[in-house]
Every structure is written in structure tokens, then in C-alpha cells.
Symmetry: C2
């Protein structure tokens, strides 16, 4: 019996599952949004993941359904489950990656540490929250945000009026999420994998560096994290995975506050940028682990292969070509660095690849990774 995994979405996360699938002899099938996507090599179908018939027809060809993104509508996920298709993560878990208000409510119920937050439906409620939190706050749309979109720092109750107006026009109504502006020292991420039968496996907690709301660099493990920080991050991630019933890979983005607390920022229920270092830097990558987990196979060892691994994202790329045009310089200067090219056309600011390298000396490792990324992008 060949193991067949269906991935909805044809982006770079699906693409990076291909090498792991090839190694394990897993028949990976991707339902891509359109032709020529990052995961085109494994695409067996092209269609709209918001169309029930398209998704059902795709699901009929695979043993288990998983995802490149979290945008498949709940009603479609639930229909798959009703038809007996294994869906990992399942709709009851994915809900909390799709809706930040529900996520905050659920994490609070579970007693997990989160920033102060409130559900707000109008500017008066925003004003009240601002008054209680030093006059500044973060407003987020409950749905549809990613890479900094749908997130706004506000200092005045009317700075989210356009979003309130949009909610009023939405037949489903709804509300915004407002959160305290956390004073944090740095951002961390804890990636964990969980099988349907319950086994979990965690990689070392990492430091993530964001620029313009987008992940730019990851250091694994997070410096000075051994001991309490690592333990608390691991406990939180396992509590989230078990509390919400996540299957597959879960990334828990955390704030390390200036007063030494860890607070949950965001959840991603799929392989995540903060885990890309694991392809080259850990015994089992997050992509292999995700495939193992959704197939309910035993999880692999997550040990870091180097003292330090650094991953740097590559944005944009050559204006008139592809990353490959820069390989001559980049690979010659940095033979230790592993390059990951997502096969996307260059566009200013677009995440088109990443590089990872590892070693004993963090400054040296960081320099190599950044220098290679600089060669590749404009």
C-alpha cells in the first residue's frame, strides 16, 4: 500500500514537503490554486479550495488531507470529515488558526498566557481598551490576516473605523480583536508536531526576527533559551497542541516580554517559516515530520545538527530573472550554505526562498546566512 497524502494549496510549504515525500516513498498530491505554482511538480489538480466539489474530488484520490495554508472554509472541511476523509489538522483545530478571536478565547479558557485582549465591535469599545492599556494597542481582524496584514497598531479609538465599517457590511457581522501592545524583548517560536494517536515531538525553541511584520531571520536554538525559556515554550506548545487537538505541525509564535514572561502571539497549524531551518539543521525536518504526523506514523528525532542554525529569508530576487542567475556568486562565496529556491517569479518584497547554514560560532553562522541571502536578492 502506497501512502498517499493530499495537500490543499500549492505554495512553498507544499513544495518543501516534496523532498520528504520522495525520501519516504509517500505519494504526495497537491491541489494547487493555479498552474505553475511553487509546488507544481506534485500538483495533480488545479482548482478552487473554496469549491466543495473540487475539494471532494481531490480528496477521493488520497488517504489523508492536509494543508499548505489555513484558508479552506470550515463547511468544506466538515463535509470531508462527514465523508470519512482523515483531515489533519481537523476543522475543530483549524478553527483556531482561522479566527484570532476564537483563538484568544480558547487559549484563555485553557489557562495559557496571552496578551490582554478584548472582543470589540465599535470605536467606543476600542477607546475603552486604549484607556485601560496606556493609550496604545494592537487591533487585528479576526480572519484573513497574515505576514503583518490585518494588524494595526493604534493610539486613537477612530484608527480602526474602516475595519468596523467593513464588519458592519459583512453579513456575518463579527468583531475585531484588540490586544495590549506587549513590551517584548524578542519574539520566539516553538514548533511541535502531534500525531492523531497523541505522540508529540518538539524542536528547540527558536528566535524569530521580524521586519515589517514579516519573518526575516530565525536563530535555532534561541540564544540563552536553554533551561527555563525552552521548558516554558515547550510546555505551552504541547498544551496548545493537546488542548486544541492539533494534528500535524503546529507553530506557536511567542513574545518574550521585558518582564520575562512568554505570551502566545499567533498559531499556525502547518509547517511554518520559523521551522524552515529544520530541513538542514535538524535530524527530522518539519516537513518530513508533518507528513509522518498526518499519516499517524512514528515521529522522527528533532535534534539540532549544529550548535547554531540560522535561516534567512530571501525577498524579491533579481528584477529581470530568477534566483538561479545569482548562484554563481552566492554558491562560490558560501559553499557551506544551503539554498532553498521556491521557484517563484521575482517581485519586490516577495518571499522567494530562504537560506540556512549552521556551525559553532553564531556570529560566523549569521554572517554566512545573511551574506548569501544578500547575494541572491536585490
Amino acid at each position: 500500500m502506497a501512502l498517499t497524502v493530499g495537500v490543499i494549496g500549492g505554495g512553498q510549504l507544499a513544495r518543501m514537503m516534496i523532498p520528504a515525500a520522495v525520501a519516504l516513498g509517500i505519494d504526495l498530491r497537491v491541489l494547487a490554486e493555479h498552474e505553475g505554482m511553487s509546488a507544481a511538480l506534485a500538483a495533480t489538480g488545479v482548482g478552487d479550495y473554496r469549491d466543495l466539489d473540487t475539494v471532494v474530488a481531490f480528496a477521493d484520490t488520497v488517504d489523508v488531507i492536509t494543508f499548505d495554508h489555513e484558508h479552506v472554509p470550515q463547511e468544506i472541511l466538515r463535509e470531508l470529515v462527514r465523508r470519512g476523509v482523515p483531515v489533519h489538522p481537523g476543522p475543530d483545530a483549524l478553527l483556531y488558526a482561522q479566527d484570532k478571536l476564537l483563538m484568544r478565547e480558547r487559549l484563555t479558557e485553557l489557562g495559557l498566557p496571552v496578551p490582554d485582549w478584548a472582543r470589540i465591535e465599535n470605536s467606543e469599545q476600542l477607546g475603552a481598551f486604549l484607556a485601560e492599556h496606556g493609550g496604545r494597542a494592537v487591533v487585528k481582524t479576526a480572519r484573513g490576516g497574515y505576514d503583518g496584514k490585518g494588524v494595526r497598531v493604534v493610539a486613537h479609538e477612530h484608527e480602526a473605523d474602516d475595519w468596523f465599517a467593513a464588519l458592519a457590511e459583512d453579513a456575518n457581522g463579527g468583531a475585531l480583536l484588540v490586544e495590549e501592545l506587549v513590551e517584548f524583548r524578542r519574539e520566539l517560536a516553538q514548533v511541535v508536531a502531534r500525531r492523531p494517536s497523541g505522540e508529540t515531538a518538539l524542536w528547540p525553541v527558536v528566535e524569530t526576527v521580524q521586519r515589517g511584520g514579516v519573518c526575516a531571520e530565525v536563530i535555532a536554538p534561541a540564544p540563552s533559551s536553554v533551561g527555563r525559556v525552552a521548558d516554558v515554550a515547550a510546555d505551552i506548545a504541547v498544551a496548545v497542541a493537546e488542548g486544541i487537538g492539533v494534528t500535524g505541525v503546529l507553530a506557536v509564535e511567542l513574545f518574550e516580554t521585558t518582564d520575562d514572561r512568554l505570551l502566545v502571539n499567533e498559531l499556525a497549524m502547518r509547517p511554518h517559516n520559523s521551522g524552515h531551518w529544520s530541513i538542514d539543521g535538524a535530524t527530522t525536518s518539519q516537513f518530513e515530520q508533518h507528513l509522518r504526523a498526518v499519516l499517524d506514523l512514528p515521529l522522527g528525532a528533532t535534534r539540532a545538527r549544529d550548535t547554531w542554525s540560522v535561516m534567512v529569508n530571501v525577498f524579491g530576487g533579481p528584477a529581470d530573472g530568477t534566483l538561479g542567475d545569482r548562484y554563481g556568486q552566492a554558491l562560490a562565496a558560501h559553499p557551506m550554505v544551503k539554498v532553498h529556491n521556491y521557484g517563484k517569479a521575482s517581485r519586490p518584497g516577495r518571499k522567494v526562498g530562504h537560506v540556512t547554514t549552521g556551525g559553532e560560532d553564531l556570529d560566523d553562522v549569521m554572517y554566512r546566512a545573511r551574506a548569501t541571502a544578500a547575494f541572491l536578492q536585490d
Copy 2:
């Protein structure tokens, strides 16, 4: 400009190029012998590599041609070169992987250490060689042998009469190769990559353990090889690569004799079983390096990632299923081990995959690798 590499042959070597191609954004296209082969995911064509039109049509779709095997006829390779298609390795080099007599002649011309050998056309000549070499020798067909086929240990001049008879019926005539039966302590392999522009990169020399003429296990690096053995193996491999003009990956199989010499046994001009450990055990795998080399891109670092890496081949597999059926046991017992499943149907004795693991203690590493392979095969 996307980098497009065409691979002739759809076996596991082409398959294992896929992950490296995905990472580097290389458009890998495979001309497979038939449907459903190991490298089917990357197959853009199915056809006979002995048919000129088939190969030319395939070559028209790629930037460079390389190989999963060494069996493409010289006249087809030369026609590709005549048409301006970059072919790596080229026909002038591949000749010496295709014909063992020519290989022995050329290595002897280059002054490289080889077993005593002779070109023989009849039993009288075999008898004379036996008389000069203690009454035993190895007879090999010049062409078409692999994995122990076309190789015979003989003690009598008439033990190769069937092969002489076959030669007589062959319109091209030809001869057999006879070699002294080398008294060796162990077998080693030195894998090297070479770019068209001349850069070479070598992995550590490895020990290969053969069973029934087929590679069973590889230990990287070869125990007690640091220093003279590693230096001599490296010098030989570079001399072969440069002397013959090999481009891409070259594996030089070596005998370490009981009197401490290294003699060249066989050459393979493609990624080779003795280099499979590098996927998990080296900074740059032989498959990534082969793609870099044939595209004339800078070569990657070849450093071993662990003190010891051990690769064990998996033969046969479950009689009534696939390797995947054994994952539950194998992966649970050995979370550190990396499994490579070639996606082939089980058949007694067939090489259907391999496993690799690494660590500090060779006995422990060897145990883990062997135990995992034992779980997977019958």
C-alpha cells in the same frame, strides 16, 4: 532563466536528484525507460534511450543532459554533442565507464594503480594469465556488467569459454578483461565531483561492504583512513577525474590490499551507492553536487556532518506490500534513522531503498542502521 537538467534513465539515482532539484529551483526532467519508475515524479518523457530520435527530442527540452546510468550508446551521445547539447559526463569520459578494457588501458596510461590485467580473446590467453598469477583470476566482460554481473572468478582456462563463444558471435568481436585476484583487506570508494570548468570536490573516502557482489553497507569515513589512505584515495580520484575529463560525480571503487596499496577496481560516472550516505551525512549530498557540477555551478562543501555515518541498503521488502507497511515498527524503534524508499515494488534481492544514520559511536550507529534495514526488509 530557470536551470533545466535532463536525466536519461528513471531509476533511484534520478529519483534522489529530485529533492536537490526542488531545493535549488532546478527544473529536473527525466527520460524514463517506462511508466511508474522510481523517478516517475520528474519524468517528462518515456522512451528508449537507445533510440536517437527519442533522445534528441528529449534533449531539446533541457539545458544539459546527464544520466541515471552509463548505458546510452556512444553514437547517440556524440550526436548530442555534435548538435551542441552540453552532455555531462561527455562521451569521451563515459567511454571508460562503459568499457572496462578501455578503462584499464587508460588508467594504466595515466600511471594509476590498478590490478595486473590483460586483454584476452581466447582460453589459451586466459591460461597463460592464470599461470602467471597463481592459478586464479577474475574474468570480466568489457561491457554490460554491474552489481556482480559479468564478473567471474576462475581457476581454469576453460571457465570463460561461454563468454569467448559469445564474443565470437558478436559482429563487433572484442575481448574479455582478466585481472589478478587482488588480496584485499577491504574495499573503499572515493567519490569526487568535477565541474566542466575544472573545480573538484571530494567527500571523505568510505568503506564499502559487498555481499554477493552487491554493495550492502557503507561506512563514512572509512575507519582508520585519516591521513595516508584518505590522501592517496583523494589523489587517485582527482587524477582519474582530470585524466579522463569526467564532469559530474565520479565514484572510484578501490581495493585496499593486504600489502597496503590502493588499486582502482571500478569507475562509475554518476552518483553512486557509495555516496548515498551524503544525503543525510554531508553538508552537500552527491545528488545536489552532481546537479551543481553538470550545470557548472560552484560546488558545495562536502564536510561530514557526523563523526560516523552508516548507510545500509534495503533489499527485497515485504513480499505482499511496500516498505511503507513496515514504517510503524521501524520508525518507532529508530527515530534517528533516515529512511529512503525508492518507490519500487518488492522483489527478492532487489535494492528497494536504503537507510542512513550518524553519530559519535560507530558500533551504535552501525547497529541502528542495520536494525532499521532489518525491520524494513524481509
